[in-house]
Amino acid sequence: MEYNWLLILIPGLPLLGAALIAAGAQGRWNRSFLAALGCTAVFLAFVATVLVRLQYNAAAPFGSVHMPLWSWGVDGVGLGLLGDSISTWFALVVTGVGFLIHLYSAAYMADDPSYPRFFAKLNFFIFAMSVLVLADGFVGMLIGWANVGVASYLLIGFWHARPAAAAAAKKAYWVNTVGEIGLILGAIVMLQHFGSLYFADVLPQAWFAPQNVLNAVALLLLAGAVAKSAQLPLHVWLPDAMQGPTPVSALIHAATMVTAGVYLVVRAYPIFEAAPWGLPAVALVGIGSVLFGALAALGQNDIKRVLAFSTMSQVGYMMLGAGVGAYSAALFHFATHAFFKALLFLGAGVVIHRFGGEQDIRKMGGLGKSHPFAYWTFLIGTLALVGLPPLAGFYSKDAIVVGALMAGRPWLWALAVVGAGLTAFYMMRLFALVFTGDSPEVAAFQRGEGARQAAAAAEAGVGRSRPVPPLKMVPLVVLTLLSIVGGFFAMPDLSGVPGAAEGARLAAPPAHEAAVAGRVLTESSAATLTIALLLAVSVIGGGLALQRFGPKRAPQTAESGFVKAAGAGFYFDDFYRAVFVRPLRATAGFVGDVTEPHVIDGAVNGVARLAATLSGAVRRVQSGYVRRYALALMAGVAVVLIYFVLMV
């Protein structure tokens, strides 16, 4: 393994870049040079990853690239880098997509005063994320985990002048704190039981551990995964996280960081398989998030929030895949989702700039005519997400749903199919509202208030057709291509992963077959059935959405427009009003209420407020009167004395 040192470069270069940029920002170097520095660092990291990946494939099926960095005195606790099929797969996406988004940001953030700071933080995030996925044990994973938390905190709050952004950053911090506690506790339990925290030591032993220990560990780890991946019920931070700059949303809150939970589950899958409650819990969380996210996305009108909930739902698919044992499928969907979701977010960035910062999709429209480029890229992203063959999303989602069926969980399977339909519906709704129909100016003109609107638009600096700068175009194009062809990549297999060998021998049959099934989907009859169904629901859902919100939609707000359309009497309006819209609207509304800052948010923000109030009260105790100090002292003595007098 003469190339092991390459592993160092993957986190090392972005870290170096971050440091240099920070220093340069102090020294007020040239902005664009610093940006270029950031991009280069990530690109080199990407190259290193590719090399490692190749070398891994070249290596023996069960070999993996390993590089210990250091270890603390206690044995079993240390930090090293591990390149096996899972970690390199993740690292490829992280660095690759990360690089593209760096490029995009170079244009998108160009007129932000603290441009270099932004790149320093992005680089730092890439560093943290690659540590997370490349670590060879739970210690390193925790380090990365905590650091991506910090990076995300910093980047969500990047515009910390905005109170909303600051609040969102805090919320994300607290939620992830909950998750990290779970993770750390899980690590403690594992250390106690397995005497080590290296994957290579823990995972192979997993099948031989007592069940209650396994259950405890699995649930604790799952808590961490749920928090980081914005799954039910800890998803509340994700929609607010959209306060961050759009590239950040694309990179951290769509493509990479939110999938860390999936990585955790797949990485530790021996534990989850061996624990009786492990996989069911994961699958439950997954399917729940799929449906919840999809329904909530229906209720949203902010373009980025729609995409955020869609992210939640798609990550839910990955969790579902992992939960039914179709790990390869989950990894596969992670990659493709990274492509098209990043694409969609970047497209959304273009849209938002076009509408001069407006994010409400009800106030958009008609972008198709003016911006063909944005139109096509966004359309492809949408279709890929909907899962239309031969686009990337189709294969991966299909593999997951099939996996559910093969795992003998028909209910999960059915619900997953329904979720696909919902996905198609809300995505097409978004697409239709933004790109079809009349642009707001025209709409306003028809409503006879053209002058004012136009003036407003003019001073908002909304050019009718502003060309997309190349720096933005390149990543969009590349991601579009990836979204198209991404499905043809070979799915990653789990050979050579710690614990895999024992897994092959001992894992519960259905789960393992599912993993196999994922690889050979087109041959099984279940697969064909699934494909047919998926296509059907997607087309129906999408079609209904287009029908409903498409070009012929009424100019006013959705409600009355809906009534008008009904009056116009499309012949299956009545049908889907009865079948789809009412229940959907009801559910979506309800879900929206839940996600709005009443219920769960309250709890989260409560923590911070509680601490503040508490310590405010506590401060009053420190009154500065020394006599009260003495009194407290003796009161303490008296309490303890009385305790003993009574108890002993």
């Binding site: 401060r619 009053r620 009154s623 500065g624 009167y625 020394v626 006599r627 003495a630």
Partner: protein
């Protein structure tokens, strides 16, 4: 013909309590100091009593008491120095008015 050990112990407890009350209830720093002195004397009574009643503990107990006397003398000297400094600057030795530092 002798004193039960419980007598001096009770005396010590009472003195300790009174001294404690002085330390807790007074505003005048020097008075607090007096209260503390009472507490230390109570401890001495304990030690001497135990030394008197326990086998082979006489020397240790009495020596301990002697050391406590020494220490409390030193403590008083230093405490009064601090109090005098306070009196010089603030023109009072009322600890209720000494709370710049709080929270």
């Amino acid at each position: 013909m002798s004193i039960p050990l419980s007598y001096p112990l009770m005396l010590a407890a009472a003195l300790f309590g009174i001294g404690l009350y002085g330390a807790l209830s007074q505003r005048n720093a020097i008075r607090i100091l007096m209260g503390i002195e009472l507490m230390l004397n109570a401890v001495n009574i304990n030690l001497v009593a135990f030394a008197y009643y326990l086998e082979g503990a006489a020397a240790a107990g009495q020596v301990f008491a002697l050391f406590i006397m020494t220490v409390s003398a030193a403590e008083v000297a230093l405490a009064l120095a601090i109090i005098l400094l306070l009196a010089k600057r603030e023109k009072h030795i009322d600890i209720e008015q000494v709370n710049l530092l709080r929270w």
